[in-house]
């Protein structure tokens, strides 16, 4: 233990001597040959993979950057949760890439004139994964449980559904009665994944089967859970008896590998394990994957918008001129072309919502001189202006955008502090205006395919205090417009209101409208079927995918 000799002392002096002596190795203490041969052959064995690549089944391996939080339909809330949910469960209806509501368990539905009553007719052949039929009572049980637990998608229905407002008219007919007119209601229904009430009740326990459903599935989805290692992977397999059946060559098994490490993704791709990348890889990774020859880069515009959310309650972004200056000091082109590919965003609402989008508003421009002029108009003119730029830690492009903003803002006399926080910390600091940074890079996509999702969640004072409303707009006029749009079933009237809203918000400039998100996936050339859907991660419903080889 006591290292008393100078253990490197002489090595350098003796080094030269050893080389001069011709590196003569004294006779070995033991014969080295046998162990050496053994070691060499063991090493050789280790170097060769024994994994057999051939497989009769179609298996899609995809990486995802976040862990699956939960698979309980009453709790799933984020993008990654829905990725699993949409495959493991079916809803009454679903959403297609245009944002239209399409039948799933329900074959048809009717809406009353005042839009307060919606009745769904369930398919006769609809069955759960265990073969039992899907009935209206299952829907009632699912909604009641959702409202009881009051987490996840429940917030979509907080004001419109109460216990007892969903009733089974007959075995295959279920009626929703809303407590008030809520125009976007139909578009929120896909978020309700129907539970197999009989199975769940068996495991109800004292906690509404929360513990059981955290690890088990009782639904009508096309896939069932095969294995789930919380930190590293989830695997689902196809239910051959899925009531809707499959066409073409369906995906038999989907494996999600959880990693946000670019190097990992590349090595998975290089070893042939990866079929499809997540949408969050770096440009370098996409390029590397495409260069391998096996992958196509599939690029699509989405309804998700990327904003710099400006906290309108704290200095210096409480000043409209500072906010305008920030918008003018943003180098949209560099961001779009070099840092993160994206589409043009000119108002809070992406162009995907074509009927509702205010096309007359021009795209924002990058003009440092004009920005200087705006700063001069502000109450902070003529002094160093401290400002905090917040972004999600470990997100390469956000760090780059933040640095780009800092470089530009320093020319305008801002004193910039960068604040990189992990996502859960951001959700925490977003709960109070004082802790919300002045500038925040936030993606926001519709959680249901209606403009209401974009406006209400981000700008209504009723939805204040979350990461999606870091602007703290709190403007009665805007609140009113959002309510007005909700209260009318007339689409033309809604469009009118939404366009007015967009003008007001652009004038108010609570955000820098950076761009719409373009999703990119590196997909195996044999895999088709990805179509961006303007609701959560419904675009990873693998019944929509095909294997073409």
């Amino acid at each position: 233990m006591l290292e008393r000799d100078g253990w490197l002392r002489d090595s350098f002096m003796k080094w030269q001597g050893a080389i001069l002596l011709g590196l003569k190795w004294e006779q070995g203490i033991i014969s080295m040959n046998m162990p050496r041969i053994l070691a060499a052959s063991t090493l050789a064995l280790l170097m060769t993979s024994v994994a057999a690549p051939a497989m009769a089944q179609v298996v899609v391996t995809m990486n995802t950057v976040q862990i699956f939080g939960t698979i309980d339909p009453a709790k799933i809330s984020d993008y990654t949760d829905y990725m699993a949910g949409v495959n493991l469960y079916d809803g009454l209806v679903s959403v297609d890439s245009s944002g239209s509501i399409i039948p799933e368990l329900a074959e048809s539905w009717t809406v009353s004139d005042d839009a307060k009553e919606v009745t769904y007719k369930i398919r006769d052949d609809a069955t759960f994964a265990d073969g039992s039929p899907v009935e209206a009572s299952d829907v009632v049980y699912t909604v009641e449980r959702l409202l009881r637990i009051n987490q996840g998608p429940a917030n979509l229905f907080a004001d419109v559904l109460a216990p007892g407002s969903v009733v089974a008219v007959d075995a295959k007919t279920v009626k929703f009665t809303l407590s008030k007119t809520f125009a976007p209601f139909l578009t929120t229904v896909p978020a309700i994944f129907i539970l197999n009430a009989d199975v769940v009740k068996e495991h109800e326990g004292t906690d509404d089967a929360q513990e059981w459903l955290a690890n088990n599935v009782a639904g009508a989805g096309a896939y069932s859970l095969k294995s789930w290692d919380r930190g590293s992977q989830m695997t689902i397999t196809r239910n051959p008896d899925y009531y809707k059946g499959f066409t073409g060559k369906p995906i038999d098994e989907v494996r999600w590998i959880i990693t946000n490490d670019e190097a990992t993704v590349r090595s998975l791709a290089a070893s042939g394990e990866l079929t499809m990348s997540s949408q969050f890889q770096s440009p370098e990774t996409y390029k590397a994957l495409v260069d391998m020859g096996r992958f196509n880069l599939v690029t699509q515009d989405t309804a998700t918008a990327f904003y710099l959310k400006l906290n309108t309650q704290i200095a210096p972004t409480d000043d409209i001129h500072i906010r305008k200056a920030l918008a003018l000091a943003t180098d949209y082109q560099t961001i779009r072309e070099v840092i993160l590919p994206g589409g043009e965003l000119s108002t809070p609402l992406p162009k995907v919502f074509a009927e509702f989008h205010a096309g007359d508003i021009p795209a924002p421009v990058y003009d440092l001189e004009a920005a200087k002029a705006e700063v001069a108009l502000s109450k902070y003119a003529g002094q160093p202006i401290p400002i905090t730029l917040g972004y999600v830690a470990d997100t390469k492009f956000e760090e780059e955008i933040s640095l780009l903003m800092q470089a530009n803002l320093e020319q305008l006399g801002f004193v910039v502090t960068q604040k990189a926080d992990p996502w859960n910390v951001i959700t925490e600091i977003a709960s109070k205006p004082e802790t919300t940074p002045a500038v925040n890079q936030i993606f926001f996509g519709p959680t249901y395919p209606s403009p209401d999702s974009m406006f209400f969640t981000q700008y209504s004072s009723k939805a204040a205090g979350t990461w999606s409303s870091m602007e703290w707009v709190n403007d009665p006029e805007i609140d009113q417009l959002i309510e007005d749009a909700r209260g009318t079933g007339d689409v033309a009237k809604q469009a009118e209101i939404y366009k007015t809203l967009q003008h007001k918000l652009v004038d108010l400039q609570p955000d820098v409208f950076l761009q719409t998100q373009t999703v990119q996936h590196a997909m195996d050339k044999c895999l088709t079927g990805f179509e961006a859907v303007p609701m959560q991660s419904f675009d990873y419903d693998f019944t929509r995918y095909q294997w073409t080889c």
Binding site: L2, E3, R9, F12, V338, L404, Q406, A407, P422
Partner: protein
């Protein structure tokens, strides 16, 4: 006791000379010391010796991103086009600061507790040494992560967390030396002559620990820097754009293997710094013939 004057100084002088002579004939120590001196000077003089001192701040030059090492950019450029050499040299500052803060806290605390435990024995010893046993069971990196997580993830908290565990090694070291010395004759002599406990601890025992402390501290500098780099690699470093070696390795690793220089070269810088302190420590160990320090 009164001091014995004069007689000491010529001997000290020749001691110093002798030490220097032995030091200069010890290649390990010399190479280590050279690295350490160069690193410290580079960190201090960074603004004057680096080609692009402005690149420590928010400079973006997307046309020059991911450039390989060249005459213009010795270590290449990073993902926003900043000079990695400049940022590496500046990054040394954070590493050295970390070592300074951690050891500046841990060494005095550890030394005092080690002296007390070793000299007084009894309950003092039991309490102090048992605490070190507990602290030894927690990996410093994990502790730093946990503390940083419950407070807020920044370098200061991490430093404090590391310091809160690091003193134990110094306590153990000083404790074992003190235990050995305590029974020696010159201590007994001093006690018999009525010297105060304070005097004995500070003037008789402490000087005998100095060489071991120097060795240990030098070795530890290297290891603290490694732990600090690991922390910033895990995302608990300093906020950008301030350069930090561990953070640079982490962010550069996203561009492996094509832009290997973005993580490999800052990583080599960490290695060199740690190597320097280790060689120096090893050299000092030979010089002082300190056996207690591994």
């Amino acid at each position: 006791m009164t001091e014995i004057p004069a007689d000491n100084s010529p001997r000290r002088l020749s001691n110093a000379y002798q030490n220097w002579y032995r030091f200069s004939r010890n290649p390990t120590a010399v190479i280590g010391a050279a690295i350490v001196v160069i690193v410290i000077l580079a960190a201090i003089l960074a603004p004057w010796i680096t080609p692009y001192p402005e690149h420590v701040g928010a400079v973006v030059n997307f046309r020059a991103r991911h450039l390989p090492p060249s005459a213009e950019y010795w270590f290449g450029t990073d993902n926003v086009g900043r000079d990695i050499f400049t940022r590496t040299i500046f990054g040394l500052r954070i590493s050295l600061l970390l070592a300074l803060v951690v050891l500046g806290t841990a060494v005095p605390v550890g030394t005092v507790l080690g002296l007390l435990a070793g000299y007084f024995g009894g309950w003092v010893e039991i309490v102090i040494m048992r605490i070190t046993d507990i602290a030894l069971a927690i990996p410093p990196l994990v502790m730093a992560l946990a503390v940083a997580a419950v407070l807020s993830p920044d370098l200061i908290n991490s430093m404090l967390a590391i310091a809160a565990l690091w003193w134990t090694w110094h306590t153990r070291l000083i404790y074992s030396i003190t235990r050995q010395i305590r029974t020696q004759e010159f201590i007994e002599a001093a006690e018999t002559l009525g010297a105060s406990k304070f005097h004995i601890l500070i003037r008789e025992i402490l000087p005998n620990c100095v060489s071991a402390l120097a060795v240990k501290t030098s070795l530890d500098c290297g290891f603290v820097i490694l732990v600090g780099a690991s922390l910033s690699f895990l995302g608990l470093g300093i906020q950008p754009p301030t350069p930090d070696l561990g953070t640079m390795v982490a962010s550069g690793s996203a561009f492996l293997p094509d832009s290997w220089w973005e993580s490999v070269l800052p990583g080599c810088a960490i290695l060199v710094v740690a190597l320097g302190f280790n060689l120096l420590g090893d050299g000092l160990r030979d010089l002082f013939d300190v056996q207690e320090v591994r």
